[in-house]
Amino acid sequence: MKEKIEELKRLAEVEIADCKSLNDLESFRIKYLARKGSIAEYFDALKNLSPEERPTVGKLLNELRSNTQRLFDEKKKLLELSVSIETEIIDITLPGRRSWIGSLHPITQTLNEIKNIFFRMGFDVIIGPEIEDEYHNFEALNFPRDHPARDMQDTFFITDNVLLRTHTSPVQIRVMENEKPPVRVIVPGRVYRNEAISARSYCLFHQVEGLYVDKGVTFSELKGTLVAFANQFYGSSIKFRFRPSYFPFTEPSAEMDITCFLCNGKGCRVCKQTGWLEILGCGMVDPNVYKFVGYSPEKLSGYAFGMGIERIAMLRYGIDDIRILFDNDVRFLKQF
């Protein structure tokens, strides 16, 4: 009897391996595990054994039954996974028929996110030319000729009076020239700087400019808008600070820093041990600018701000070399 049980066990193991479909498995179940199956028959036969033999054989039979049940359950799981179509067995680990996965450039993704936040705050999107005249890029923005402030932005010139814009700020002038107040716009776009290419600077980059001019706009409101932006973009737990700075076309001018999210403000390589990351420049529109566009500084006030998309994207994605953004290695692009 013991030998028979052992043999039955081996047979079941062979047969379960042959089961290729749920149908096969069902036949297996009927053969071994059903109420009239072979294991049940052996149990029936127990009663013919001597009382001494019964417990050991019974134990073996129990083992056989549970073992066979386990084999069955496992195989059933496996076969159910391989969904069968018209009795054909499919290896579901075979890759599906995929197609190429497209991606938006990380600069576009970052820009879109920034744009969307400002849309929700009621800002229009406008754009302006990259080839700009000296008047719009500098003069009307209160950068006097022969003023050291022009050195803040190394410029590519096309002629003495035509250049590649060094910032998106000239579009501030263009929008105020064309539209009556109030204006509330953001201006995304490409800008150029005549700086040697390195891990930290490229000859071109992208900015988003913001401008809001209306009656009674205050510095307090500028802070409010930018803090709301930073909370949306970087999360509501960040800390921020505004510190005085200088831009010819705003006064008072400020730079906005947020706590470095890489080290939580403790100080690291990226924040140069300061615990702060500079994210944008801003300020109240300088009254001189209004004079150039025929707005009345007595009746109006406004704010402007600007940020570099590459810098924001680099911080966001942990990219430490700006050139990688323009290398467009698809192994890089496909990560986004």
Binding site: G102, V125, P129, R184, S220, K223, P252
Partner: protein, 812 residues
């Protein structure tokens, strides 16, 4: 600007940790970019003596030196031409951080490690001034005097246990380009007293007015010129404390007179210049503008051609300095100088800036003058300098000051409305608050007026060291700065405006989404390229006057070349199956009388480029691989046009070849060309070393935009069911699919709504010069359900019609 904490503490009492001081300065707009502990900077630098200099066995330009550093003798490989036995030098030991790498364009610091240089192990490095960050000389190693003790730590030798703040000074704050200037801000912040050095010295009996003469010929560009003469002084190296002060902020000591002028410059912010009095012809200073093409040799030994209007300091015969920029070699202080004339002048900022720009020289002096020095500090700075020189170099100070100042520059008065302060800042400051804040930085209240409506008008007097404060808003900024930006309440706007999103942006986003869905990766490429590349298209190229390099001297006229660079680079990375797109601008010169643009004569056009190369489909186990061909890219374009513009487009072959593209197909909408597609020309591919076919489409977004339908209109769905039939024809290869499709629709009396190609064949299975095309026809009537008979009768019309018109034969 580098600020020494010890130096600063001479003028104001500071009881803060360096980091706390840094934060306070940053919060008032003087951004501390770095704090440097000088003693730590020179950890692992010691003084050594060169015992021997031997040729490097494997390199002609290198030597192997034995250097005694007291505790041991090191073997150091050295590349400097001036190394010699017996010299006392600064040795960077392994583990030392060399402050400036002179072989790195960004001069980044690096850590010394034990290395073999051409096969010889080097135990350290003998450093140059530049590498030690104590001067600009990088031509050889820095050699110390005999006072340097062998084995002494370099920091100790320098007497450096100072803390240096690197402060970023914005161009509007010339007053902060000095220790006293920063001290004034610190005093205001900490509410402490500013302690200025008091000046006392004894004058000789001889009158300066009898010994020197100053004539200003251009008082516009030189409103003030003050001078003193010191005689019988002794030029020598400066005392150690003075050298260390200068070194600690990165200025190389030269001699006692020059060092004092630099010291006073860094102390007061006012640039001074010392001339060798005996080299001044007729003991006369004449300030005049240059005549064109005048030639002059500056202190640095370089010959300079001057431009008209550059302001010059001359003696009776010749120029002796470029005013406010750099002195001349001909009147330089040398070891043999005995008598000096010290200049302390005020020059017009724009003139100095023009000279400095034109000559390409930027000095501590020019940086200060062009930002605006203080005309009323000349005498103070001059006296301070005189006092220090006489203390250090001895000599007799001639009696009196020469001071030509025809039109006195008085402090300006600025009137502000308190209400304006609060309405710009969103604060609620009282007049007392404002007055107290401003008083701390020397802006004093002159007058206060309270009008009937309880509105205050305040008049302040602004000291002349703040040329940046000219208007009410400048005062408001000072108030905000001193009050603290962080104390101004953060408020969100209560104004709500609806935006009207311009269609162009939306369109670009829609395009991007569609292409990403189609498996394309977006790239963003450089719009600057070489003139040669930009000229490929034959457009009039926009060229830069001052490019970074020849490779980036022109603006692109097509998106293809910058894309091909990306394609090449990716193929080099073994990424050969590429689906890329870019939305970007191209630029060209246009005739401004014919095309009006925002900046006259320059056209910018926004374009979309798609490229596809390598395998047509994502590798897949059940489909045979197929290489990309032109119909892959055409399909994407059709998708875009159908999705966005419906079906008004046409593809027309170019008869003339396009510059960059072979077998180009023009894409037209309502007879306007919006772009083209094709295969990149082999010659061009060769230029980029690309060895696989690349298919491209370039479309003008600006033109496509015109056809966007802003609001899509619903068309009622068909009431009756459609009937689908397949038909296959064999026709001459010359008959186009488009013709067949069009004719089928016509012959059906417009009962056929769509004709899709489901099979296409040319080859051995059919006659030569024939092709087989199989179509799926959709029959649909708006009036009724079509019966089989009706459909059959239309089909026979089509079959007959095509047979008559094209000789098409139905294929069963």
């Amino acid at each position: 600007m580098k600020i020494s904490l010890k130096w600063l503490s001479q003028y104001v009492q500071i009881n803060l940790l360096p980091s706390e001081l840094a934060e306070k300065l940053t919060n008032v707009g003087l951004e501390v970019e770095n704090i440097e502990y000088l003693s730590e900077k020179y950890n692992n630098f010691v003084i050594g003596r060169v015992l021997s200099v031997n040729k490097h066995p494997n390199a002609d330009k290198l030597t192997v030196c034995e250097v005694d550093i007291s505790s041991q003798t090191l073997n150091i490989v050295c590349g400097a031409p001036n190394v010699a036995k017996g010299q006392r030098v600064v040795v960077g030991l392994n583990g030392a951080t060399i402050p400036k790498n002179q072989h790195d364009p960004e001069a980044k610091p690096f850590i010394l490690t034990k290395v073999k240089i051409r096969g010889v192990e080097s135990d350290g490095m003998i450093c140059s001034e530049y590498e030690l960050d104590i001067g600009e000389n990088r031509d050889g190693i820095h050699i110390l005097g005999n006072d340097a003790q062998i084995g002494q730590p370099f920091a100790e030798y320098l007497g450096l246990n100072d803390i240096i703040f690197e402060v970023g000074i914005t161009p509007n704050r010339p007053d902060c380009l000095s220790h006293i200037g920063i001290a004034r801000e610190v005093a205001a912040l900490l509410k402490k007293r500013l302690m200025l050095p008091s000046i006392k010295f004894k004058e000789d009996k001889a009158l300066v007015s009898k010994n020197a003469k100053v004539i200003i010929k251009d008082t516009i560009n030189c409103p003030r010129y003050s001078a003193r003469v010191i005689k019988d002084l002794k030029i020598a190296t400066s005392p150690k404390w003075l050298q260390n002060r200068l070194l600690s902020i990165g200025i190389r000591p030269i001699n006692n007179v020059v060092d004092v002028t630099n010291y006073v410059l860094m102390e007061t912010g006012h640039p001074l210049h010392a001339f060798d009095y005996d080299k001044l012809s007729h003991r006369t200073i004449i300030v005049r503008t240059a005549s064109d093409a005048e030639y002059f040799t500056t202190l640095d030994g370089k010959g300079r051609e001057l431009k008209e209007n550059s302001l010059l300091i001359c003696d009776a015969e010749k120029p002796i300095a470029i005013a406010g920029v750099m002195g001349g070699l001909n009147s330089e202080i040398t070891e043999s100088t005995q008598n000096i004339l010290i200049e302390s002048a005020y020059f017009n900022p724009s003139n100095i800036r023009r000279s400095s720009k034109y000559l390409g020289i930027s000095t501590y002096a020019s940086q200060r003058f062009e930002r605006g020095a203080d005309p009323n500090i000349t005498i103070y700075a001059l006296n301070r300098c005189t006092q220090m020189i006489s203390e250090i170099a001895g000599g007799k100070i001639l009696k009196g000051v020469i001071d030509i100042y025809p039109k006195k520059n008085r402090p300006s008065k600025i009137e502000i409305k308190l209400s304006q302060v609060n309405s710009i800042l969103g604060t609620n400051l009282s007049s007392k608050d404002v007055i107290n804040l401003l008083d701390r930085i020397g802006i004093r209240l002159k007058k206060i007026l309270k009008k009937k409506d309880k509105k205050y008008t305040l008049t302040f007097e602004v000291p002349t060291f703040r040329p940046d404060i000219e208007r009410e808003v400048d005062i408001i900024e000072e108030v905000a700065r001193l009050y603290g930006y962080d104390r101004i309440v953060t408020k969100t706007s209560s104004h709500i405006q609806l935006t009207s999103r311009p269609p162009k942006i939306e369109f670009n986003d829609e395009l991007r989404q569609l292409l990403v869905g189609r498996g394309f990766n977006e790239v963003i490429t450089n719009s600057l390229q070489s003139q040669e590349v930009a000229s490929f298209t034959g457009e009039n190229v926009v060229i830069l006057k001052n490019p970074l390099s020849r490779e980036m001297s022109a603006m692109r006229t097509s998106l293809i070349p910058s894309m091909l660079e990306i394609v090449r680079n990716n193929i080099n990375y073994q990424e050969k199956n590429l689906n890329l797109f870019e939305i970007g601008k191209v630029y060209s010169l246009v005739d401004d009388s014919k095309i009006s643009t925002l900046v006259a004569g320059y056209l910018e056009e926004e374009r979309l480029i798609l490229i596809k190369c390598g395998k047509a489909d994502f590798p897949n186990w059940s489909v045979t691989e197929r290489k990309t061909d032109i119909f892959d890219i055409k399909g994407v374009i059709e998708d875009i046009l159908l999705k966005i513009l419906l079906d008004k487009y046409k593809f027309i072959p170019y008869h003339a070849t396009k510059a960059l593209v072979d077998s180009a197909i023009s894409i037209e909408i309502k007879s306007i060309e919006v772009g083209y597609l094709g295969k990149i020309n082999n010659k061009i591919l060769k230029k980029y070393n690309i060895e696989q076919d690349v298919f491209v489409a370039e479309l003008s977004i600006d033109r496509l935009k015109q056809f966007i339908q802003p609001v899509k209109k619903f068309k009622p769905l068909p009431t009756y069911p459609s009937v689908i039939r397949d038909l296959a024809f064999v026709v001459d290869v010359s008959v186009t699919i488009a013709e067949l499709q069009e004719t089928i629709k016509l012959l059906s009396g417009h009962l056929v709504k769509s004709v899709e190609v489901f099979d296409f064949y040319t080859g051995n299975q059919i006659e030569k010069n024939k092709k087989s095309c199989a179509f799926t026809l959709q029959f649909l009537s708006e009036l009724k359900t079509l019966t089989d008979e009706e459909v059959e009768s239309v089909i026979s019309k089509i079959v007959n019609g095509l047979n008559i018109k094209y000789g098409a034969v139905i294929r069963k």
